[in-house]
Symmetry: C2
Subunit: 342 residues, 2 copies
DNA sequence: GTGAAAGCGCTAACAT
DNA sequence: ATGTTAGCGCTTTCAC
C-alpha cells in the first residue's frame, strides 16, 4: 500500500463508477428529491464501494458554511470552564457541528488574534466564554460583523447578543428556603469576595428568602472571604465563636463549605445535627465529604447547552435575540443539611 | 450598513485596487521572495485599505492543509483533561493552528463518528486523549490512513504512534525520597484501586526508593481504596490505629490526602510534626489545605504541550516516531511534610 | 430525472 | 518580477 493511499476519492470517481454525472452524485449525497430510486441506489453503491467521503472543505468553500463553531474562553484552566464546554460540544455534535477551541487567557490581544483565525476559517458562529464567575464585559476584541455570537457565563450591554448566566440569586433563595424548611432560623453566610457579582446576588437571595419567610436577617452572621477552603475554615470558626452562633451555614462555594466542615469537625460540632451546612457550585468533591455536602448546583452543562443551542439557532435562522438568560441553579440534596434522602 | 456587509473582499479586489494580478497578491500575502519592494508595498496598502483577510477555506482546499488539529477525548468532564487540553491549545496556537474539540465519552461509536467528521474536515493531525489515569488502548475507532496521530495520557501497541504519559513510577520515587530525606522511615501508603496502572507504578516507585535507601518496606503500611477523600479518611484512621503507626503518609491522590488530613486532625495528630503528609496530582485545592499540601505533580500541561509538539512535528516532517514518552512528575513543596519553604 | 457548465477564493506551474 | 492559466472538490442554476 503506497504512502499516499488516501489519495482522495472524489465525487468524480463515484460518478464514473456509477455511470452518472458528478452533479447527480452530489444530489444523491445531499438527499435532493427528484433523483430516481434506481440511480440513487447505483450511486450509493458506488460511493460505498469506493468508501467515498465528501470533502467538507470543498463543500464549505462552495456553500460558505463550515458547520463549525468557535469557542473562545478566557480561562482554559478554571474549574467551571470544562463543564460549559462539554455542554456546548454536546449540542454542537448532536447537529454535526464541530467546535474550535481557543484560549485568550483574558488577554485582548490574544483574543483578537484568535478571533481573526476563527473569522478566516469561516466559523459559522462564536461563543465567548468566561471561566470566572459571572461578569460584565464589552464587545469582542475584533468586530465580528454579523457573525452570530453568544456570551456564556458573562454578559454585555455593548452588543445585542444572547447571554447565558446562572441564576445566582434564585439559587441562594432555593438554598435558604431549604434550610428554613428544616427548621433552621439562624443562618450564617460565608461568602466570597464582594467584587464578584455572584457574591452580591447570592447574599441578596438569602435576604430575600429570609424576608419572605418572615425571619429576621442578622448581619452579624455574614462573613466575607476568599472562595477557598482556608477562608471557610477561619470564618466558620469566627461564626461559631459568636455568643449566639448560627444553626446553619450557607457557604457560597463548595470549597468554603469544605473548609467550614473542617472547622466544625474540629469544634466537635455535629453536621447536620447541630449545624446544617450547605454549599454552592456542586463541585465533584462535594459528594465525597463527611457528610456528603448538600449544595446549590451551578448548572454549567445546561448553560453550555443553552448557549450552544442559541448559537445554532441564530445560525440557522439568521437572527439573534439579545436576551439575558438566567439558568436555574437546582438544589442537590445530600446529607449535610439533614433532609431525607431520595 | 447592509446586512451582508461582510461581502467577502477577495484577492481579486485587492489585485484590482493595487493594479496587479491576483497571483501577485497571493505572492505578497505569502511572503514569496522575488516581488519588487514597490509592488509589495502597493499590494499591502491595498489589502490594508480593503481590510482584506485571505479565505483560509479556499487556501485549505487548494493546499490540502488546514492548520487544524483534532483533539478527541473520552472524558470532557474529568479533572485532568482540561490541563492537557490547555497545553495542546497553547502550542497549537503558537503556530497558528486551531484545535477542534470532540468528546467521545469513551464510546467507540461516537469516537468513529467524530473521527469521520475530523477526516472530512481534513484536519492535519489528531490527538487522542484519555481523561482517566494512564491506560493502554487499541487503535482509533476508524482507520486514519497516514494521518499523524498522537496518544495522550494513554498508550497503544496497536499502532506505531507517539504516546505521552506521566512518569508515575519516577514521581513516587521522588516523593518517597523527599520523605526519607526528612528523616521519615515508616511510610504509610494510601493508594487508589489496583486496576489502574498508576496505582501499581506508584507503589513500585515507593518500594524502589525505600530499597535504594536501605529502608525495609512494610507491607502492613499499605492500604488500597478509591481515589476519593472518604477513602483517605478511613484508611488513614486504619493506619494510625496500628500498633506501630507510620510517621509519614504518601497518598496517591490529593483527594485521598485531603481525607487523610481530616482523619489526622480528628486524631489530634499534628501535620507535619507527628506525621508528614504528601499527595499526588497537584490539584488546585492542594494549596488551600491546612497545612498546604506537598504533592507530586502530574505534569499535565507539559504533557499536553509535548503531545501537541510531537503532532506538529509529525505534520511538518511527515514522519512519526512511535515512542512512549514518560514526562517527569515534579515535587511541589508546601508545608505538609515540614521541609523548608523556598 | 439527469448533465453541462460555471464558479466558490485561493495557489502554483509556467510563460513572459 | 509579474501575469496567465488551470485547477483543488464540491454545488447549483439551467438546459435538455
Amino acid at each position: 500500500m503506497k504512502r499516499n493511499s488516501s489519495a482522495a476519492v472524489t465525487i468524480h470517481d463515484v460518478a464514473q463508477l456509477a455511470g452518472v454525472s458528478p452533479a447527480t452524485v452530489s444530489k444523491v449525497m445531499n438527499n435532493t428529491p427528484y433523483v430516481s430510486e434506481e440511480t440513487r441506489a447505483r450511486v450509493l453503491a458506488a460511493a460505498q464501494k469506493l468508501n467515498f467521503r465528501p470533502n467538507r472543505i470543498a463543500r464549505s468553500l462552495k456553500m460558505s458554511r463550515t458547520s463549525t463553531l468557535g469557542l473562545i474562553t478566557d480561562d482554559l484552566e478554571g474549574v467551571f470552564t470544562m463543564s460549559m464546554m462539554r455542554g456546548v460540544e454536546e449540542v454542537a455534535s448532536e447537529q454535526s457541528f464541530s467546535v474550535i477551541l481557543s484560549n485568550s487567557y483574558g488577554d485582548m490581544t490574544r483574543e483578537r488574534a484568535h478571533l481573526e483565525v476563527l473569522l478566516d476559517k469561516k466559523v459559522d458562529g462564536i461563543i465567548v466564554l468566561s471561566g470566572y464567575r459571572v461578569r460584565q464585559r464589552g464587545a469582542p476584541a475584533l468586530a465580528l460583523g454579523d457573525l452570530p455570537v453568544v456570551y456564556l457565563y458573562q454578559y454585555t450591554y455593548d452588543l445585542p447578543v444572547p447571554c447565558v448566566i446562572p441564576d445566582d440569586f434564585g439559587g441562594a433563595v432555593t438554598g435558604t428556603q431549604h434550610l428554613l424548611s428544616l427548621g433552621r432560623r439562624r443562618i450564617g453566610v460565608i461568602n466570597g469576595p464582594t467584587h464578584y457579582e455572584a457574591t452580591q446576588k447570592r447574599l441578596a437571595g438569602v435576604q430575600q428568602a429570609l424576608h419572605d419567610a418572615g425571619v429576621v436577617f442578622d448581619h452579624a452572621l455574614v462573613r466575607v472571604g476568599k472562595w477557598y477552603e482556608t477562608s471557610g475554615y477561619e470564618l466558620a470558626h469566627e461564626l461559631m465563636r459568636l455568643p449566639n452562633p448560627p444553626d446553619a451555614l450557607f457557604c457560597m462555594s463548595d470549597s468554603i463549605a469544605v473548609g467550614a466542615l473542617s472547622a466544625l469537625h474540629e469544634l466537635r460540632i455535629r453536621v447536620p445535627q447541630d449545624v446544617a451546612l450547605i454549599g454552592f457550585d456542586n463541585r465533584n468533591f462535594a459528594a465525597h465529604q463527611r457528610p456528603p455536602l448538600t449544595t446549590v448546583a451551578l448548572p454549567l452543562v445546561e448553560m453550555g447547552r443553552l448557549a450552544g443551542n442559541l448559537l445554532l439557532k441564530a445560525i440557522s435562522e439568521g437572527t439573534e435575540s439579545a436576551e439575558l438568560h438566567r439558568v436555574t441553579c437546582p438544589l442537590v440534596l445530600r446529607q449535610s443539611c439533614g433532609a431525607t434522602m431520595t
